[in-house]
Amino acid sequence: MTENKHKLLEVKGLTMDFGGLRAVDSVSLAVHEGEIAALIGPNGAGKTTFFNCVTGIYTPTSGDILLHPKGLETRRLNGLKPNKVTEMGLARTFQNIRLFSSMTVLENVMIGRHCRTRSGIFRSIIRNRGVREEEQEIVETSYRLLEKVGLEKFVNEFARNLPYGAQRRLEIARALATDPFLLLLDEPAAGMNPYETSELDQLICRISEEEQIAILLIEHDMKLVMKISNPIYVMEYGKKIAQGSPLDIRDNPKVIEAYLGEEVDA
């Protein structure tokens, strides 16, 4: 089914050791154009470590992380700094919200535009026409993104004063501001109530359709995962134990075992 689609992210045999602990053990996965892929698994399975390896926060012990941007040559991401990874078009959000809390909502999104704009120190001091236009472009783009995620009424509010669900959406808007073609969401629905979650899944689908951005998400909310994502990858104890469509995953005995524990025949 995915054979004819362009492969954007390809991870081959990714392994990450912390001392003697193997947090991620030769995991392979791929995200194709237009997909909303999900990475699920019990707590401590190594999902966030996997994310951190892909986005450059950790340097993986072994394995390959390959990015195939459309129309550009393939790049290997291993050991690249996080800002370089973001520059290549791979943006992320965090499991524990990491907003710039004493900046305003708009400024938070404006930070996302940093790697797509160029004014340096000297040009900022002179503040010539080019810089002013670029600055205005940053503001307009950021405001449009806030409208897209429905936060325009909070535009001049401090990020720390936002309700929890809005903070999650602001993180997504900030990630979108970096012009990614692949968005990594680390538990975007954590701590949300059912209403907020349903709003969120609409937002994710909209981003995927309107912006042509592929999405890879980590999530514990099975309802959300089963509803919007395909394919699903399942991890346990650092290893990938299953992959496939929501239907396959639901009936996969290994997955059921990982989540519910082994049945004991008595």
Binding site: N83, R92, F94, M103, M110, C115, V139
Partner: protein, 405 residues
């Protein structure tokens, strides 16, 4: 209310008890009598009661304000509100500038000299503000960059007879280079560790200047440094002080413009983001190394430039001018004034430099007052005298656009 009253009463009784042996009983060893000074009890009781009650009142007020702030009610003081009014602000700035320009015409050389010192600390504060206030890089050795500037002028003037105006940019660039050199090893450090390394750097600079006699003439310092020249015109001491004063005014204005523009630019936003959350910052595509180094280098640049002016003003420098105490004062200026706030830093510099100067009458209690003021400040206004003014962005939403179409 009654609770506070009771507690203050307890406090005052406790103070009476504690000070009883010191303030009431006096043994006269010559006449072998004990003098009981009962009236002192009354004064101690009243004094401690009033102070304690006032203290409670202030704490209560602060807590109420904090609560309001949490609930989102902006607790703007009248000063902050006035500052947000752009027209008022521009007028106030114009008046201040005129006052600054005619200052040496009104006051004598002594006052002008003090003012030059204050202005030097304004620039130092604004420079450190880039690192500490905006980028959140705590620097306890900032005075070393100031020293680099001062010594670069002193040494170049002493050995090569170079003039003030040639060395002024050189001093800035040297400061900048030292900032980058120090910046590299501390890229990975944060918080306490960063503070210790920068503290060490400040110490190293001072010790080096004390011991590298062949270069810096050691603890005796370098004397007879040339004052700034003005197309070869000979100037008296008073004229030369006025001249330096105007140079400082120009430098302060330049610093304010540059730091203000940087603060509200792409670079400045990156600094603030770095202060807020380093990991999120790099994940959003900001080059951490470059951002940190630029903050350090720019801060050091101002210190270097103003160091050159300092050397030219005093015409004599030695390592004792660049101790940890100076670093601490510059840091206090930034913290007292308000981290990241340009106006706050300027105000802080004037308070911390001019107050001790005019409090010379109480010179023995100067540091005591200074310390007490800092403690009170941290309890009641931890954000500084003037908090950061927010930049206002103009944007037209897409909704307006479609409405016009």
């Amino acid at each position: 209310m009654l609770q506070d009253f009771k507690q203050s009463l307890v406090v005052s009784l406790w103070f009476v008890f504690l000070t009883f042996p010191l303030l009431v009983v006096r043994v006269n060893t010559i006449e072998n009598v004990v003098v009981w000074r009962w009236s002192n009890i009354l004064w101690v009781a009243i004094g401690s009661f009033v102070l304690s009650y006032f203290w409670r009142f202030l704490l209560l007020r602060r807590n109420r304000r904090q609560k309001q702030a949490e609930e989102g009610i902006a607790s703007y003081g009248p000063l902050q509100a006035a500052l947000d009014n752009i027209l008022l602000r521009n007028r106030a700035m114009a008046v201040l500038l005129v006052l600054a320009l005619i200052f040496p015409l009104i006051f004598d050389t002594y006052q002008t000299n003090i003012m030059v010192t204050a202005l030097i600390f304004v620039v130092l504060g604004l420079g450190l503000n880039i690192g500490v206030g905006l980028a959140g890089l705590l620097d306890l050795g900032y005075v070393a960059f100031f020293g680099v500037g001062a010594y670069s002028y002193a040494i170049l003037n002493y050995y090569f007879d170079l003039g003030f105006w040639i060395v002024l940019p050189i001093g800035g660039i040297l400061g900048c280079l030292f900032g980058i050199v120090l910046g590299f090893p501390i890229l990975r450090l944060r918080g306490d560790y960063l503070a210790i390394v920068t503290l060490g750097f400040g110490m190293i600079f001072k010790v080096m200047m004390e011991n590298w006699e062949t270069l810096s003439l050691g603890p005796s310092g370098i004397a007879n440094i040339d004052r700034p020249g003005f197309f070869g015109v000979q100037m008296s001491l008073a004229q030369s002080t006025t001249y330096i004063y105007y140079i400082m005014i120009a430098l302060v204005v330049l610093t304010i413009i540059v730091t203000n523009r940087l603060k509200n630019s792409r670079v400045g936003r990156a600094w603030i983001a770095l202060r807020e959350d380093e990991i999120a910052c790099v994940a959003m595509g900001i080059d951490m190394a470059r951002t940190k180094l630029s903050a350090y280098a720019l801060g050091a640049f101002w210190a270097g430039i103003v160091g050159v002016i300092f050397a030219a003003k005093t015409t004599f420098i030695n390592p004792a001018s660049f101790t940890f105490m100076e670093s601490a004062i510059i840091l206090s200026i930034v913290v007292l004034g308000g981290m990241g706030s340009i106006l706050g830093v300027i105000l802080g510099a004037f308070i911390l430099v001019l107050l001790p100067e005019y409090l010379r009458a109480f010179s023995e209690y100067r540091m005591l007052v200074f310390g007490a003021a800092m403690v009170l400040m941290m309890i009641f206004r931890p954000q500084g005298l003037i908090s950061n003014l927010r930049q206002i962005y103009q944007y037209k939403g897409t909704k307006d656009k479609t409405a016009h179409d």
